[in-house]
């Protein structure tokens, strides 16, 4: 059994790691942009804000499975194939990016408006306010948000497995469900549970540790 579960686990870890990374690269700036371009904020661009808001909402309305099918051609374009673990990273990242944007947006919004005002009164530039004030002040909350994202992506990746993405979800479906090897199904699920538990634990600990509030 180990020779089935371990490679699948590695596939899952690989998918989750890179999907998280790319969804952060896409979603993080988007989330910050959502805050600063708001009316009355430090870089008000109401039109842009509205457009970004709509895009995020539309992407988030798609059921993940449909989004994956729609985006698979994009995978062919980027990684050269539309099936397998690497190919799955593309739709996973795209699906998680708007989620990340919302998470970052709400974390940044928690930052006390007073410190932004203070930074303005001291002559800080907009990039300085973002990098030296907003992000550091929101960091404990951002870490919890990223934790939530990783757990979400683990869930998505299991679904992706069902349509040829590989990983633990794939293993559970192919062996556990189609071949009635219940023990493999159970083990796959247990491994996923352990992963989720540990990531949540690490996230909570880290967030509490850096929070000086």
């Amino acid at each position: 059994m180990a020779n089935l579960v371990i490679p699948s686990l590695i596939e899952t870890l690989y998918m989750v790691f890179f999907s998280t990374l790319f969804s952060l690269i896409l979603g993080f700036p988007l989330g910050i942009l959502m805050v600063v371009t708001e009316k009355g904020n430090i870089w008000p661009k109401p039109k842009l804000n509205q457009i970004l808001n709509s895009i995020i909402n539309i992407l988030r309305s798609f059921p993940f499975l449909i989004l994956m099918i729609v985006i698979y051609p994009l995978s062919t374009l980027i990684v050269g194939k539309s099936i397998g673990t690497t190919a799955t990273i593309v739709p996973l990242s795209v699906a998680a990016a708007p989620f990340v944007a919302r998470i970052i947006e709400s974390s940044i919004k928690e930052v006390d408006k007073g410190v932004v005002e203070l930074s303005l009164s001291m002559g800080a530039t907009i990039p300085q306010i973002i990098t030296k004030v907003l992000i550091p002040e929101a960091m404990p909350s951002i870490i919890l948000g990223i934790t939530l994202t990783i757990i979400n992506i683990i869930g998505y990746s299991a679904m992706a497995g069902a349509i040829g993405g590989g990983g633990l979800g794939d293993l559970a479906i192919r062996y556990g469900y189609y071949r009635f090897e219940t023990n493999i199904l159970i083990v796959s699920v247990i491994v996923i549970i352990i992963m989720v538990q540990s990531i949540q634990f690490i996230g909570n600990t880290l967030s509490a540790k850096i929070n000086k509030k």
Partner: protein
């Protein structure tokens, strides 16, 4: 140093217009501590936030140290703001940064090198008396300590002006006093002009040189603190003075309860040293009954108040009052 000319600030909210500051004119001299006092909603916070354009004025001019603040473009405004420090009611410290990083914040924004920053922060810590809290986080500090950090941060760049938006309103009376004496030291030793927004007359009394009273977006009275205490012109000014703890007796005294004439006498500086009461009793055929009295210690001198009841012949009382008036005692019949 600071000149405000015909300043207007209008807020618009769903077609609802609110004129927070109307046609306001004010001049503040270099090295002064200028208090602006008013009840909440008087427009004083809006006014001080217009000075560094955290709030954009609708109309009018603001000139600080010969720079027309209202005419600056965004980039020049940003650079000019470095010369205008500001402290807030709720301190606005960076919660995730320690005291050192909070004070170094403005220096880092100006890209000063690490060595210089270290030296300057140590200097400032010593100045505000928090050397032992260098690596503490704001959540571990008391309100007074937090405001000291905020003050150190505000003066780190050697600004010409320091704005205090209700800087002591969240503090207890004793801490307020220690913060005020720190501000006074800053004014004296660094020559920084300080503008203080407050709703506490105690703050004005303690350190301000001049005071403006705001109501409904306008300045209804502005004068030196001594003169306001001695001869308040407006009702609001009266209320502020009598709102101070030492004056509560005045509220209790109802002129209808007394047969004689109830008069409030104010003595300023030298006049406080003359024995006027015994003089009038000897000179005129009247009786004087002292109902309450107090002395307010101001930044530059003292103002004494007495509330007395005059009984006797109306003419004699009139003469006594005139005598007092001629001797620079402020007389006010209640």
């Amino acid at each position: 140093m600071i000149k405000i000319e015909n300043l207007y600030k209008e807020f618009e909210n769903n077609n609802d217009k609110l004129l927070a500051v109307k046609n306001l004119n004010l001049e503040i001299k270099r090295g002064e501590i200028y208090g602006i006092i008013g009840l909440s909603g008087a427009g004083k916070s809006t006014l001080i936030r217009c000075l560094n354009r955290l709030e954009e004025p609708t109309k009018g001019r603001i000139i600080i140290d010969d720079i027309n603040i209202t005419a600056l473009d965004k980039e020049s405004l940003r650079i000019t703001r470095k010369e205008i420090g500001m402290i807030f009611q709720h301190f606005n410290l960076l919660a995730q940064k320690n005291v050192y990083d909070n004070i170094a914040f403005s220096l880092k924004l100006s890209k000063m090198n690490k060595e210089k920053i270290d030296k300057r922060v140590d200097e400032l810590l010593k100045y505000v008396g928090l050397e032992d809290k260098k690596y503490a986080y704001p959540s571990k500090l008391s309100g007074g300590q937090k405001q000291r950090v905020a003050i150190a941060r505000a003066i780190a760049n050697n600004p010409k002006v320091l704005l205090s938006d209700e800087g002591t309103s969240a503090l207890d009376p004793q801490t307020t006093k220690s913060i005020l004496s720190l501000l006074n030291r800053i004014k004296k030793e660094m020559g920084i002009t300080i503008v203080m927004i407050t709703h506490q007359m105690e703050v004005v009394k303690e350190i301000c040189d001049k005071v403006a009273i705001m109501e409904g977006g306008e300045i209804i009275e502005a004068n030196t603190v001594e003169n306001i205490f001695r001869e308040p012109q407006t009702k609001t000014a009266h209320k502020f003075i009598s709102s101070m703890q030492t004056d509560v007796e005045e509220e209790v005294i109802n002129p209808d309860d007394f047969k004689g004439k109830i008069v409030r006498l104010s003595f300023l500086g030298e006049t406080a040293k003359e024995p006027f009461i015994s003089q009038i009793v000897r000179r005129f055929y009247i009786n004087v009954n002292i109902l309450s009295g107090n002395i307010n210690k101001l930044q530059s001198s003292n103002v004494g108040h007495l509330i007395v009841e005059f009984t006797g012949d109306d003419k004699e009382v009139e003469k006594a009052l005139n005598y007092l008036k001629n001797n620079d005692v402020n007389v006010e019949v209640i």
